[in-house]
């Protein structure tokens, strides 16, 4: 008998994804120690230098500099900090709002379900990027505002997907059985329903993290993300547009950062879904 945790840790997908996330996470956490330069420091004497190994590269700027002479590596590392902060807080926030409403909606059904369902419908009919842009205009720029905007846009995803899972679990006789044994609604949801929906919840969170990274990049790209004093990958892409012909790596490196982070979270989500979902494991795979 192996528990879900040990089963997950035997999955190659999960292990690779966790490894990648750990690397990015360390960069984010210890950016101050790892980064060779301050990400805001401009060196106007050496702008658009190529990476250190290319002709004309400067060893003190391992990945070269951007149009204002800022160290790309340092900006990437600090950008990872922004991306990770947004990924974690936004996805957990969206998860909490979405899953609480999903459990209430799916468990009680009836009018409550109808109201929450319609609310989600209306919410989801706004294009998500436009909605977050509008929110950012209203809220103003800043890390916490980005997180809030993503939470407000993406809770519906959790709510809709989880609600159908809650509905399925609630139809099982064991949920009816504990109600008849005298469990309160709260006890029933927490002890019987939640453990069954948890695998899906965890999977959704990891996928949401990938989405949050992309959304944050988009918002920063249009200049409505974190403040201009805080490095972000989206911002780097926006800055690199002007010099894309002179120094393509300026554009490619932050894209690579986004790509790796999103891949890692998606891989984690997929791996967890395979190992945690009872429908996969009960059939003996």
């Amino acid at each position: 008998m192996s528990g879900p945790v040990s089963r997950s840790l035997r999955s190659a997908r999960v292990l690779i994804a966790l490894g990648m996330i750990l690397c990015i996470g360390i960069c984010a956490l210890f950016a101050g120690w790892i980064a060779p330069h301050d990400p805001g420091d401009q060196n106007l004497l050496s702008i658009l230098t190529p990476p250190a190994w290319a002709a004309g590269g400067d060893p003190s700027y391992p990945l070269g500099t951007d149009g204002l002479g800022r160290c790309i590596l340092s900006r990437l590392i600090y950008g990872a900090r922004t991306a990770m902060l947004v990924a974690f807080f936004a996805s957990f926030g969206a998860m909490i709002i979405g899953s609480v409403l999903a459990h209430i909606s799916g468990y009680f059904g009836g009018v409550v379900d109808w109201i929450i369902g319609r609310m989600v419908d209306v919410w989801m009919s706004f294009p998500p990027v436009i909605l977050s842009l509008i929110l950012m205009v209203g809220l103003g720029v800043g890390l916490s505002k980005v997180i809030l905007a993503i939470i407000l846009v993406d809770w519906t995803r959790f709510c809709r997907v989880l609600r159908s899972e809650v509905l399925i679990v609630t139809r099982h006789d064991y949920v009816a059985a504990v109600r008849l044994l005298g469990f309160t609604h709260w006890q029933t949801i927490v002890r019987e329903v939640l453990p069954a929906t948890l695998p899906l919840l965890i999977t959704l969170v990891s996928i949401e993290m990938a989405i949050a990274v992309v959304v944050e990049a988009i918002l920063s790209f249009v200049g409505l993300g974190v403040g201009s004093d805080q490095p972000a990958w989206g911002q780097m892409i926006a800055d690199a547009r002007q010099s894309v012909y002179q120094s393509p790596w300026n554009l490619l490196l932050p894209i690579l950062g986004i790509f790796l982070t999103v891949t890692a979270f998606n891989l984690l989500g997929d791996g967890l879904r395979r190992t945690l979902d009872v429908r996969f494991s009960e059939t003996g795979r």
Binding site: H172, Y174, G182
Partner: protein, 614 residues
């Protein structure tokens, strides 16, 4: 020439890299126009025979040796193309679940036409005529209308008739019917069986009839093979085998089946259950030995050969001569006296559902239960019988409070439970419990057995101590006859019978005054069913509780209950003591239910099947 002949057929299954035989050296011969019954409990390998013929074995299973000769040609060696040409034409199948065997998005006519086109049955018009002829032969009314209908518009019984018509439309020489009535209502059984028998006789088809019901096999089949753990333990002419079984397993199965007409007796309880494939791997000797009442030292050492007892009669048992001495070992647990004190009173209970209510218009009102009134006294086991959709389960849900009645009253120990209040919920929690039909769904797959059976002690603000929980778990598991080391298992690691015991144990935790049991032995094998029926009788004697036992199996009802309520279309149409009602049924539905049970004695002709012969 034989229609089909199996010659030492062996089907192996790969279990953890080892090949375990799921069918071992099965040999039989079936002449054209005869019916061969394959009888046994689930896991005996009977369905595997049909799948081997169609080459539709589950992954990991394959024919490892032996031959399957269809009219002299070996199906095992046959190239897939040639086999495909036979299937659907010369060999046809009648499936177990008729509702899922038809494609829901095509009309019956389209599906018939597709099948007939595949077997090259003329042009469109002649195919249509053929379809109509076959549907009429299957005694389906309004065959023309039926062609334009979709499967969901038909009842399960009608779907099965359509499938039987389909199967026989190609004039097959062999038909394999795998439990064709199991998924249907009991009242449908005789008609479906009669139809198969008639079609078989008319077309001179050889039929392999797979069933778990010995009484049915005795009525329908010419020859039977009783299978146990992949082996044919006994074979011979159906009536001879079932009237004087030579193998202890056949005899034990018969004794485990409650009787409809004979005097009530204790059911014979075979210990444990049929070994699973992974258990078979490590077994030597006779596979039935661990459960056999006649077991001798030799049985555990060597596998007994199949011995010929008479012409065409074989049994794989070295002690076959003693089989007839096996009798019920247990005394019928005497039921405690039923007192006059009423536990449950139900008065004029009604439940209406609004159906088909759209945005506009009022919609119809469907009454699931119409003015049901009954009482249950202390320690009394009352049965609620009726076909599916008659409102039995709705009554159960109303009683336990999962649904609210539209009208009427429910009194538990004189206290009104009709209103859904915290007080009525609390009253129910301590004295009225339900055992759900499907333990798979009723047990949380993520909780351990120990935590499931003591779940009630987690309810509300009660906080039972660790010691208290452990003591209660041990006590409950012992009561339902489960070993204490199962406490740490998850429901997925238990067998069907064990799961149902856990299910019962949970309901008994508070020692309720009344249990509502919804079809709790329906999905189980006869030997497991006997274990549970005896368990319920013993628990009543020990703990004292009343029960509303919902079932469609009248022989089980007769065995366990003293009074019966017959439901038909939401109404209780008849109620009274079991013996009286069964001996002298008043309502046509009660009569239909009674007629659908084949007689216990193989010699006695079953009137329902006989009517067709003449």
């Amino acid at each position: 020439m034989f229609a089909i002949q199996a010659d030492e057929l062996t089907v192996g299954a790969a279990i953890d890299g080892v090949i375990v035989p799921a069918i071992r050296a099965l040999s039989f011969e079936l002449e054209p126009g005869k019916i061969l019954g394959l009888v046994g409990e689930s896991g005996a390998g009977k369905s595997m025979v049909g799948r081997a013929i169609a080459k539709l074995l589950p992954s990991g299973f394959k024919v490892t040796s032996g031959r399957l000769l269809f009219e002299g040609t070996d199906l095992v060696q046959m190239p897939p193309g040639a086999l495909r040409a036979l299937l659907g034409r010369a060999i046809a199948f009648i499936p177990q679940a008729p509702m899922t065997a038809l494609n829901p998005v095509h009309t019956i006519g389209a599906q018939f036409d597709e099948h007939l086109a595949r077997i090259d049955e003329g042009d469109r018009a002649s195919r249509r005529d053929r379809a109509l002829t076959m549907l009429e032969a299957a005694r389906l009314p309004h065959a023309t209308d039926l062609l334009a209908q979709y499967p969901h518009q038909l009842s399960g019984g009608m779907c099965q008739r359509v499938l039987i018509a389909l199967a026989f439309s190609s004039n097959p020489r062999l038909v394999i019917a795998d439990e064709p009535t199991t998924a249907l209502d009991v009242t449908m059984h005789p008609q479906i069986l009669r139809l198969i028998a008639d079609m078989q006789r008319e077309h001179g088809t050889a039929v392999i009839f797979i069933t778990h019901d010995l009484r049915l096999a005795a009525q329908l089949c010419d020859e039977v093979i009783v299978m146990y753990a992949g082996r044919a333990v006994e074979s011979g002419p159906a009536r001879a085998v079932l009237s004087s079984p030579a193998h202890p397993y056949t005899r034990c199965l018969q004794l485990a089946n409650p009787s409809m007409r004979a005097e009530r007796r204790a059911l014979y309880v075979m210990p444990e259950q049929m070994p699973s494939l992974s258990q078979l791997r490590d077994m030597s000797g006779c596979h039935f030995a661990p459960r056999c009442p006649l077991v001798a030292a030799d049985c555990r050492r060597v596998e007994p050969p199949s011995l010929m007892l008479a012409a065409g009669r074989n049994a794989a048992c070295i002690r076959a001569e003693a089989t007839s001495d096996i009798g019920a070992t247990q005394q019928l647990t005497s039921a405690p006296a039923i007192s006059q004190r009423l536990v449950l009173q139900v008065e004029g209970l009604e439940k209406h559902y609004a159906a088909g209510r759209g945005l506009f218009g009022r919609g119809r009102i469907v009454s699931a239960v119409k003015r049901a009134s009954f009482v249950i006294a202390e320690n009394e086991f009352v049965a609620l019988v009726g076909e599916s959709g008659s409102g039995k389960s709705t009554i159960a849900k109303l009683l336990v409070g999962l649904e609210q009645p539209t009208n009427g009253r429910i009194l538990l120990n004189g206290e009104n439970l009709t209103e859904a209040t915290t007080r009525s919920a609390a009253l129910r929690a301590i004295s009225l419990q339900i055992v759900f039909q499907d333990p798979q769904s009723a047990l949380n797959p993520r909780r351990r057995v120990a935590s499931i059976v003591t779940q009630v002690m987690e309810a509300g603000s009660r906080h039972a101590g660790w010691e208290e929980l452990r003591a209660k778990t041990a006590e409950l598991l012992a009561e339902v006859g489960l070993s204490a080391d199962l406490a740490a298992r998850l429901p997925g690691q238990l067998s069907g019978g064990q799961r149902q015991r856990v299910n019962i144990a949970r309901a008994l935790c508070t020692i309720p005054k009344i249990l509502v049991a919804d079809e709790i032995v329906s999905g189980l094998d006869v030997s497991i069913q006997a274990q549970l029926l005896n368990l319920l009788a013993r628990l009543r004697a020990e703990l004292g509780f009343a029960m509303l036992f919902i079932s469609h199996d009248l022989s089980v009802v007769r065995h366990l209950c003293s009074r019966v309520l017959v439901m038909y279309r939401g109404e209780i149409v008849e109620q009274g003591p079991v013996e009286t009602v069964f001996a002298n049924p008043q309502h046509p539905h009660t009569r239909a239910l009674l007629a659908s049970v084949p007689p216990d004695e193989p010699e006695v002709a079953w009137s329902m099947l006989q009517a067709a012969v003449n």
